[in-house]
Assembly symmetry: none
Homo-oligomer: 136 residues x 4
DNA sequence: GTGGTCTAGACCACC
DNA sequence: GTGGTCTAGACCACG
C-alpha cells in the first residue's frame, strides 16, 4: 500500500484513504483477498489518528470494498466491478496534470522546467520505492 | 464563466471555485480588468450560498488574483510577479508532482506514458491559451 | 450635535447614531423641538453614506424620538421620559472608563500616564470645541 | 467565569466575550495557565452557538491572550510584553479616551468629575487586582 | 470529550 | 445593485 495524504487539499483524510483504496482496487494494484495494513499500522504510517484510519476502514467495509475480520485484519473483497480500462485511468491522470500545469503557470515556471522536474521526481520516487514495493 | 462544481468530491466548494478561476486566469479565458460574476450571480448559477461564493472571492483576493471593489464587483488583476523565490516555487510544484506520480503508480501507468501525457496536456494548454491570451 | 462614530467597535454605524441621539436627548443636550442636522449634512460630517444616516433617522422616527418634517428637516419630539439622573449618567461613564482601564493594563501603560493622557485629550477637546459649541 | 452578554447592544457577541476575558485576565481573575471553559460549555452557559464561542477564543488566541490546545482546551497564556512601541500603544489609548470624552460631553459631565471618576475606577481596579493577581 | 472548518441565512454599509 | 460581517448548524480531526 502506497497511500499519499494531502493535508492541504481540504479533502477529509478518511475520504482520501477511501478513495485511494478504491482506486488501487479498481486499478488492480490491490487484489481480492489481499490484506490491508492494520488500523494501527496505517495510522502510524500516515501520521494520522487511529480513529481516522478506523473510520476509513469502516466506510470501506460499509461500501462492501473490504472485509474487517475480527482480530485478523482487513481484507479486500472480491471485485464487484472489472478493473478500469486504460483509457479511463489515463484520463483521470490527465485532469490532475492539467491542475499542475495551471499551478506551474501561476508560479511562472516554464514548460521545459516542469518536464525536467517531473523526470527528477520520478527518479526519486523509483529510488525510494526499490526494495519495498513489488511492482517493478 | 462556466464553472463546474463537484459536490461529492469532498473538496470544499469555495476551493473548487478558487482553483477554476485561477485556471481560467492562467489560460487567458479571463483577462486582467475583466469583471467576474457578482457574488449573488455566481451563487445562484452554482446553486450555492452567497457566502460560499464570497469566500472564494475573498480567498482569490488574498492571493492577489482578483480585486474586490466594495459595492462595484470583483475584477481580475493584472498578473503580478510572484513574490516567492524560484526555489520555493519549484519546491511547491515538486510536491504536487509527487502526488501525481503516486496516483500514476496506483493507476499502473508507466513513467514514459506519464511524461508523454504531460507533454500532450501542455501542448493543449498552450493551444487554448494562444486564442485568448495577449502574451503570445 | 457632536456625534462620534467608532468604526472599529463592531456596532452598526446607524445604531451608534441612534444610541447617541437618544443619549443626548436623555441627557438634555438636545431639547424638544430642536433641529437635527439634515441627512446630507450628517453624512458629510461623519464621513458616512447618506443611506446610513437616513436609516438612523428613520429608526429614530419609528421609535418616536424625532419627527421628520418633509422638506423641512428632522426635529426632536417632546420628551417622553425625564432626563437621566446624574447618578445614572455617571454610572454609564464609569463602565466605559473600566474598559479603558483594562485596555491600558494590556497596553502596559501605568496609571499616572493614563491620567495625564486624559488631561491632555480633554484640553485638546476643549480647544477644538471652542467656537462651534454652545456648552461652556 | 461569569460572563454577561448584552444581546441588544449591537456589539458582536464574540467581541463581548473577548473583551470580558481580557478584562478578567487583566484584573487577575484568570491566572496564566488556567483553563477557560470549553467552547461547548461556554456556548451552553451563554446560550449561544458553539461557533460564536469558538470565534471568541480564536480571536483571543490571535491576540496572544490564550492558547487553544487542540482536543485539550483553551488556556490563559502568561502575560507577554507587548510588541508595540510605546508611542503606538499610548496613541491607541488616546483614541479610546477621546471617545469617552465625547460621551462625557453628551452626558454633560464636567471635566473635573470625569478625572475624579477615572481615579476612583483605577483605585477600584487595583483593589480587585491585589486580591488575586500575583504581580502586586 | 476537545478545537477547527465548511456551508448557510440574515443583516450591514456602500454605489 | 455591490461586497462584507455575525451568527448558526453539521461535520471533521484529535485525545
Amino acid at each position: 500500500m502506497m497511500l499519499h495524504i494531502n493535508f492541504k487539499s481540504g479533502v477529509p483524510v478518511y475520504l482520501q484513504i477511501v478513495q485511494q483504496v478504491k482506486a488501487a482496487a479498481a486499478a488492480g494494484t490491490l487484489r481480492p483477498g489481499e490484506a490491508l495494513p492494520s488500523v494501527r499500522a496505517l495510522a502510524e504510517e500516515l501520521r494520522i489518528n487511529r480513529n481516522t484510519a478506523a473510520r476509513a476502514y469502516a466506510e470501506l467495509e460499509s461500501e462492501g470494498v473490504v472485509e474487517n475480520r475480527h482480530g485478523a485484519g482487513c481484507y479486500l473483497r472480491a471485485q464487484t466491478a472489472s478493473p478500469l480500462r486504460h483509457a479511463v485511468r489515463s484520463e483521470r491522470l490527465a485532469s490532475e496534470l492539467d491542475a499542475v500545469i495551471v499551478q506551474a503557470h501561476h508560479l511562472q515556471i516554464p514548460d521545459a522546467e516542469l518536464l525536467s522536474l517531473l523526470r527528477e521526481r520520478l527518479a526519486a520516487f523509483r529510488g525510494r520505492q526499490s526494495g519495498n514495493d513489488r511492482t517493478p
